[in-house]
Every structure is written in structure tokens, then in C-alpha cells.
């Protein structure tokens, strides 16, 4: 078994204490929630924190409320399996429930948290490997090295955002509440991202994600998540597609959004999705035509690279297929799109 490096674990009981610990220890400290991603990464020598600030004992992070105005408040520490199984989430934010239910496998969803998934490190076949392996390679740009191997001799890190829930939260126009040394701030999830595989989030080292707020949506809200992966469980996405449709009383699409993940360093919005779908009836031939057009637009926009394992040309070919399937699933309420 790979050894976990020796690390001190601090167990705050409030967010304020956790922030204070991060401030106190600075760069050698890292927050840990479920640990399903961080611990393997530590075993691989990708992170070498001296202090882990454990968030599991903080009650505030377990908030789970549907407010009277329809706002869904999800504490960052809520486990993915609870989100997937919760009737309120399934009803008001189906794409999120579906995505949470497709993260990894059952054991990992029980330990893994929503906050951990949103804050997930980017992934790459040249990076998520043991220290021995990376040393034999000569390391890579993201950790300990000077070149990117995705494209031979590359100078920019293109590790892939691999968080299933993030694109669904983008389609849902969620905001994230962070707390740091200078207090709380709310950030639209769209504004969280950098297009940089090394650090793909705009975040201070003293900041902790406290909760995710999903604003209320009109009754015609429909959503779905599509996940491409090799196995029917465990695997990270090779492509994730989050779709939102707002369907009016007359059945026409009034609002639409489409965000893809696992292609590049950040989740990517398909720019023409809304333009092509708004005003179109949400079923029938016209809808199918519009969906096909969105699928083509997504294909034109998506350029997956050989960053994560799997054939990247095939991943690109799967973009229009999964976009179309996910939009249809959203319209008919039959998500998620998954091969098993």
C-alpha cells in the first residue's frame, strides 16, 4: 500500500476556527472534508500539507435547507449521497442530484462532500500518478516539473476540471459562499474559474467554501446531467454535460443553459445553446432540430486534449452525442444520461 505522509490534523468545530487555523499555518495547511480526493493525492506526493484542517466536525457546513422562497442552501460538508437521494434536490435541481449520484462509486459518495467536489483538483494522466512514476517521467508542469506532456513540450497546464457537480451548479446559476480572514463573500460559480490547470479556482489559501446557494427557479425548470465514463461506477468523467431548460406554460423553451466539464481546465459553457434553444417548443421535430444544432455548436467549441486517460478524439466525438442525449433527457425528465 502507498503510505500516507505524516500530517497533523486539526479539528475545528466552527468555520471561524477553521479559517483561523488556515491563517495561522499559511501555505502548509489544507482543509480536508471527505478526503476521497486529497488523501490519494497526498499518497501520490501531489500535496504535502503539514496540517490538515478537518471540516467534518463543523455543524454549519451541514446546512441543508429549501427556503420558503425556493432557494436551496447546501452546506459544503453535505455528503454527495445525501444530495443525490434528497427529494427536494431532485425536484428543484434535478441535474445536481443526478450529477451527485454519478460521482465515483457508492462508498466514495458517502464520504465525499458537495464542497469537495466543487473544489476538486484538476486531473491529468501525467499528474495523477505516484511519485515514482512522476519521477521516472521527469515530472510535469503542474507539480515539480517544467513541461506539460499532454502536448509534447507544452508550456501551459491543461489538466482537466473533473467535478461532476460544478457544471450543473453553473447551469443553475448557483452562488458560492466562502469565508476567509476578511469575512464572507459570495461568488457566482461562473466567476470561480481560471483557465489554468495548475490552479483553476480564484481562491485565497485562507478561504473555505461554506455553502452553495441554488436560487429558486420557475415551475418549468428542467435539468439533466450526462456523464461519459468507461465503467458504470467509480470513474471520473471523461465528459460531463449539464443541461438546463426553462419551459414556459406554452411548452416553449424560455431559458436554456449547457455547460461541459472534463474537457479542459475549467467547466465550459456552450455559448450558442441558449440562442439556438430559446423560443423552440420543448418537444417534437423542431426541438430535435434545435438540439442537433446545439450538439454541432458544442462539437465545434469543444477541443478535448489527451489530458485525462482515454481517447481524446473519441471524447470529442462524444460531445455532440452526449449533449443531444442530455438535452432530450432534460426535456423529458429522464436523466441522467449514463450508459448503465
Amino acid at each position: 500500500m502507498l503510505r500516507l505522509p505524516k500530517t497533523r490534523v486539526a479539528k475545528p468545530t466552527t468555520v471561524a476556527q477553521a479559517v483561523a487555523l488556515l491563517v495561522e499555518h499559511g501555505e502548509v495547511a489544507m482543509p480536508i472534508a471527505g478526503g476521497t480526493d486529497l488523501l490519494p493525492n497526498m499518497k501520490h506526493g501531489l500535496f504535502e500539507p503539514e496540517v490538515l484542517v478537518a471540516l467534518g466536525g463543523i455543524k454549519e457546513l451541514q446546512r441543508f435547507e429549501l427556503q420558503t422562497d425556493g432557494t436551496l442552501i447546501l452546506g459544503a460538508g453535505v455528503s454527495l449521497d445525501r444530495i443525490a437521494a434528497d427529494e427536494r434536490v431532485q425536484r428543484t435541481a434535478p441535474a445536481l442530484a443526478q450529477a451527485a449520484g454519478l460521482v465515483a462509486g457508492p462508498q466514495l459518495r458517502r464520504m465525499g462532500t458537495l464542497g469537495g467536489n466543487v473544489m476538486l483538483d484538476t486531473r491529468c494522466q501525467w499528474y495523477n500518478q505516484t511519485h515514482f512514476w512522476r519521477q521516472a517521467l521527469g515530472y510535469c508542469l503542474k507539480k515539480d516539473g517544467t513541461v506539460c506532456h499532454v502536448v509534447a513540450g507544452g508550456k501551459k497546464c491543461v489538466a482537466a476540471a473533473s467535478n461532476d457537480t460544478a457544471p450543473t451548479l453553473m447551469t443553475l446559476q448557483a452562488t458560492l459562499v466562502f469565508e476567509g480572514r476578511s469575512g464572507r463573500r459570495e461568488v457566482a460559480i461562473d466567476d470561480l474559474w481560471h483557465t489554468d490547470g495548475i490552479h483553476n479556482k480564484k481562491l485565497g489559501t485562507d478561504e473555505i467554501l461554506v455553502e452553495v446557494r441554488v436560487p429558486p427557479r420557475a415551475t418549468g425548470h428542467r435539468g439533466a446531467y450526462g456523464k461519459l465514463r468507461e465503467r458504470g461506477s467509480i470513474d471520473y468523467p471523461m465528459l460531463g454535460v449539464a443541461a438546463r431548460l426553462d419551459v414556459g406554460r406554452d411548452g416553449a423553451v424560455e431559458g436554456a443553459d449547457l455547460v461541459l466539464v472534463a474537457l479542459q481546465a475549467r467547466p465550459v459553457r456552450v455559448r450558442r445553446a441558449a440562442e439556438l434553444l430559446i423560443g423552440v417548443p420543448s418537444s417534437g421535430d423542431n426541438f430535435a432540430e434545435a438540439v442537433a444544432a446545439v450538439a454541432e455548436a458544442a462539437y465545434a467549441q469543444a477541443h478535448p486534449m489527451p489530458n485525462i486517460p482515454g481517447d481524446h478524439e473519441w471524447r470529442r466525438e462524444m460531445v455532440p452525442v452526449y449533449v443531444a442525449r442530455t438535452l432530450h433527457a432534460a426535456a423529458t425528465g429522464t436523466g441522467p444520461v449514463h450508459h448503465v
Partner: protein, 807 residues
Amino acid sequence: MDARLFEGPRERGITLMAARDQHGVGAPFGDRFQVVGRAERKVDGLAKATGQAVYTDDIQLPGMLHAKILRSPHAHARIRSIDTSKALALPGVHAVITGRDMPIKYGVIPWTPDENALALEKVRFIGDEVAAVAALDEDTANAALRLIEVDYEVLPAHFDPKDALAKPEVQIHETPEKPDRGNVSKHVRLEFGDVDQALEDADVVLEGHYRFHGSTHAPIEPHCAVAQVSPDGVLTLWSATQITHYVHRALARVLELKESRIRVIQPCLGGAFGGKSDPFALEFAVAKLAMVTGRPVKMLWTREEVFYAHRGRHPMQLHYRSGIRRDGKLTGVDAKILIDGGSYSSFGLVTTYYSGQLLTGPVHFPTYRFDSTRVFTNKPPCGPKRGHGSVQPRFAFEVQLDELAEAVALDPIELRRRNWQGEHTHTVNGQRITSNGFLGCLDEVERASGWRERRGKLPFGRGLGVAGSMYISGTNYAIYPNDMPQAGIQIKLDRSGLATVFTGGNDIGQGSNSVCRAIVAEELGLDPDDVRVVAADTDLCPVDLGAYSSRVTFMVGNATIDAARKLRRLVTGAVAKKWSVPENRIFMGRGEVFDLEDRSRAITSREAIQIAEALHDTLGATGSYNTPKLGGDYRGGTIGASPAYSFTAHVVEAEVDVETGRIHLHNCWVAHDCGRALNPMLVAGQMEGSAYMGLAEAVMEVHDINRFGLHAGPSLLDYRIPTSVDTPELHALIVESLDPEGPYGAKEAGEGPLHPALPAISNAVYDAVGVRLRELPFTPAAVLRALRAAGVGPKARAAQQPEGARR
């Protein structure tokens, strides 16, 4: 280069066997079995399920040190020097060893000893073992590894067998005595009959190129070994191995110890599948470190290290040319195979023969030629994985049979029936076939799958495919030549009513200890709970060669009957004497002994054993098994010769998503002729496990080396073994042909049922969408490319868009 023409099957009489080796197919008492044939729980089932089973890594000894291995970061390099002084100086480090401490080469096949426990002059793949450290704990040992300084001269490396052949000047194993050898590990060319003429005489000749990508075993338990040296110098090694006997011999050779001073024990094992059938660096390293430090030493490999240990299925490039007459009869098969061996020989000599020798049934072809070349490359060494050497050619040939059936407008099941070799016959390469239940297997999968009503008639995208195979039940090629038995057994029986069976056989989860228990319970009329099995401990158990080539049930089973029958005669004789009745009136079954003609005269087994112990003194018996003399009369003719062959047929039901290329497997019907199912639950488990493993390596598992020579993903996250949700419904259909030489008629069940899974998928895909898949793996990306090349499903967008529309 063993080219030689073999003149068809030899005319010869029935081979005479020692009575010791043949025990008939019937029950020992009367016409009904008491234990055999029942679904009995495995001897270690509860211990495993409750976590009580002791695996090698569970062993903790007082003062035990922990060892780690330094591995090469280069695919091919000469070692100029190694400086271990800084590592040795680290507090907590007890010893550091290198190749110089164990310079004697070894290899599981005695003719090809090309491995060093730790590299001596060269490293030959990324992950090759260079040095080992023993320290107070794992972290200290790991820290010490980082302080070892190795000066390498990096050499050009080969990752492609064709390159390795084309550029022999970069030679992976230097052979100054044979300068022409280049990177050829083994070449075998054998021809039986006039193939060229036979192909000329055929009405249709089909030719095809097939590719097998290579896969690994991925046992859930990583390799682990613990060594201890007693104050009087006896070395004990506990190891997660499936070949205690060969490890015992290899340790003696490399460590220059007498075999009598070494004890090797295999604790409970968490899977092997052929991946633990070589001696490994960790076994030598912990032994040497225990000798140097005087303390017990353990080494547990990481998952990554298990991928480097590998010995997995060889990648092969296979070319087949087969002829068929219009009446559906095959005329000849001509094969040329390039085998990527990786960096060491391992079982490669046998693999090279097996790639040709094991194809000659259940379908008969009157002429045959194969030309197989195994080549060294700078990759983790390949070796034997479940279905050793024959899964790859079987894949190619069974797909080509499907193509041949289509060419002569025959149903593929009918084609196989028409060319069935028959029973009690010889193959074209001179192997003796005894029982053969292949037709029964075809009948079963045809019936269960609804073949006649459904094949070719399912909606587009969904199809059925069939394939068949044959596999050995042990081999009479005993790795090192000797005249001693291949399997030995010892049984102790005493007044407590308990029988203790001592077997050198390795139970690697296949249930061989349970088979021993069932046979002893059957023969001695005991309740199975009153039989205990002590296995795979070289101090306590008679020699058995190990768990490989599907030999254990057949060989150890026969040896067990041999020993148990001797004891049975002592017990029945003693009771008969006491009751003054003829011996044939004494019945023993499931703990009771009674007079068949006077049921009121009945005692317990324990009482009967006490009568026997009083009459005969202490009770014990040994038993043995050896194969009859078998095999073709030519060099290599004994490789692939088995006392019995198992037969299998699969039908796979597959659905192809033409948009994604993903193959959804819905059903796999597995019919397997295992002779007699000694324990149908274990047989079905082996059939399902085999089929699962075959399906897995067909559609998901890729053992790939990247452009730097690094394993592309040495983890169970990136090497994707299917989960339960990825596994189709597996239907085990047991066919019992009752082999005249197997124990109660039994043959193997652990490897044969894997083979047809891969070609049956390809054939099902053809039925589904009309596209032939000749190259493994069938990942969705590869399948989608094949579909598009054939014009099936939506076109690639790249082709639809005008030039310049893509970046």
C-alpha cells in the same frame, strides 16, 4: 527453431497407466456419491467472509522489519555503480542489498534463467528491481530508497516488438555466445501435414490479421512475502504465491542454501490468476534481508508494483489463413504469430509453444502450421495469465471460424459441429484426446440462448455470437525433468474421527483444498466437517508442483483418491473383520458405517476408525499421481500434452450503440465440459469468474505502455476492471463428460471457460451490426472507429464538415 514435419496422429494402443493413477469414474461405495456432486461451501469460505482468514500481510512477527524495493526509472540502462552508503547511514535502516548480494540468475523455466533477484548489470524496464532496504518501518525504508545513488548509462529502448526485431543492435539480453539471436526470446515453427496443398485444395481460403492488446491479472491481494531465519539457520518464507514448490527451488538456487534448510508456506491467497506463478524479487529480497539482519522481514508491494511485476497476457499480432471446403470441412490452418514478451523470459518458452499447440481442438483441421516468435521489449515482463498462451490465438481463430461459416453459408454452431474432432482420438499435432463434451456444450448454449430463434433476427444493433475452445487439465511437461510424481498427498486418520489431509497444492481461491476435503470425505465416508486440509507448506506437505495449467483438481484429486482408498481399505477391512462379514458389505458414508445387509448394525465413523487403529496401529497413507507418457513425437510435442482436455462454448448477447461505439453485454451463456463437477457451486464460480475475466479484457482492460515506456496507468482507477454493474448476466451451464482418467471423471474448470468470451463478443457484434472486430480491445473508441470505417452509424463529423471548419 524446431521445424519438423509430423506425420499425423500416431497409431498406438491405449497408453498403459499405473493403477495408482486411475480410479474410475464411479462412487467408492455403491452407485451414489455422498459428498461429490454437492454444492458444499469452501473450506475457507466463512473465514474469508468474516475477515478471519490470514493473508501474508496479516503476519506480524516479533521484531519484524519492513522492506522496500528501489526500482529503475529507466526503460533500458546499464548500471555503472550503486552507492548505498547514505541509505545505510539513515537511522532505522538495518540493511541494504543489491544485485551483487544475489548474483545467481534464475527463471521459472530452468532452460531460460535470465532474471536476477535485483538487477546486476542492466535494468530492462521502468520498474525493474535494483536494490532493497530493510528498516524499522515502511516510511524509514522508503526514505532510505531515496538515499540510494544509482549511476545509470541510459540505453535506447524498444517498446514495439517489430522495432526490437528490426534493430537487434540494441539487444535487451546480451547473448555473446549467439550473436544472431538479437531480441528473439523464442521461435517455434511446427508443421503437421501439407498445409500449402490443403489450402490449395480448399474451396475458400480466408486470411486475416488479428491483434491482442495484452492485459494483466489484477488480483485484489498484492504480492507480499515475509521471511524469518531460525536461530539454527532454517529459512521460512511466507509468500502470496501459487507455486510454493518452484519458489522453494528458486530460493535454494539463488541463496545457495540446501532445500532442506528452507520452508515455504503459502498463507490464504487473495487471487493470483497466473500472476503469482513466477518466483519474484520480493521473495528473494526478504529472505536475503532476513539472513543479513537476523530479524523477520516483510515486504508488501503497492498496487503500482503489482503492475510492474505483471507476467500478464502477452500482446500478440496474429495472422491466420484457413481453408474450407463447400461442405463445411476445414482443410488446413496456417498461423504466424508475433509475441511481445516484455523484458524477461518468465514462462515465455511455454507461451510460444502454447500459442500454436493448444489450438488443435475441439474443431479438427487435418493440416496445421504455426510459426510463433516471442520478442523481448523494454516493458514489464509478460507471463501466464489464466488461459496461458492460448486465449490470443483462440480469439483470432474463433473469429476466423465465424468468417468461414459465413463464406460457406453455414450456421457457426453447425460449422463447429461438422468439424468436431470427436472423443478418444488424437489431434493433428499428436495430442491424445480422451473425453470430449464439446457437442454437449454447443447444444446447451444453443438452447439456452434461443440461438435458432434469435440469431440473425434481433433488431439492428443487437446480436448473438458463438465461440468454442479447449484447454488442458494439467500438463505432463513438468517444468524441470524428473521421474517423481507430479502430485503427492498424505492423509492422517486417528481415533478422534478426524482426517487431516496434507497437500502441496496451492489453493488460490479456486477451491483446491475444498476438492481435497470432498474427496477424502467421500472415500472415507466422513462428514466433510471431519476433514481438515493442511496445504502449501513445504515442511508439512508432500510435493505438488503448484496451481498452474489447471492441474490441481486433476492431479491432486487423483493422488487424494489414491491415498484415501488405501485408508478406506484399512477401515472397511477392520470393521468387516470385527463383524465377521465380507468387506463389500461395509458401507461408509457421511459419518456412519453400517452393514449393508443388516442396517441395525451401525457405528459412527469415529468408532470405525478406532477399530481400524486398534487393528492396524497408527493410520496414515500417501498417494501420488503422474501423467501417462503423452505428446507428439517431436521436439516440443509434450508441450500442450495433457491427460485430459476441457471444452467450452459461449454464446454472448451484445448490443452495440452505434453512436458511441459502446458494446453493452447483456448475456453470456457459458457451457463447460468439466468432466464431472465435483462441487457444482465451485465449478459454476470458476466458469463465471473466467467468463467475467475474458469479457473484461475484451471490452475494458488495457495494459498499455506509453511513449516514455511508463505503464499508462498502474492503478485500479486507470486499469479498469469491470464492476458488478458492468458485468452481464452470466449463465453457467455445466456439461459432464466423465473423463476416464480424471478423479471420478473430473477435468479442469478454472481456465478453459475464459477463452470463448472474447471471440464470442466479436462474433455477436458482427451479428448485431455486420462489422468484424479483429483487433482487441473493443473499447468504445476503437469500436466507433471500426463502425465508421465500415460505414455503420452516423458519420464522423470531421468528414461532414468542409475543410477549414475545424481547428
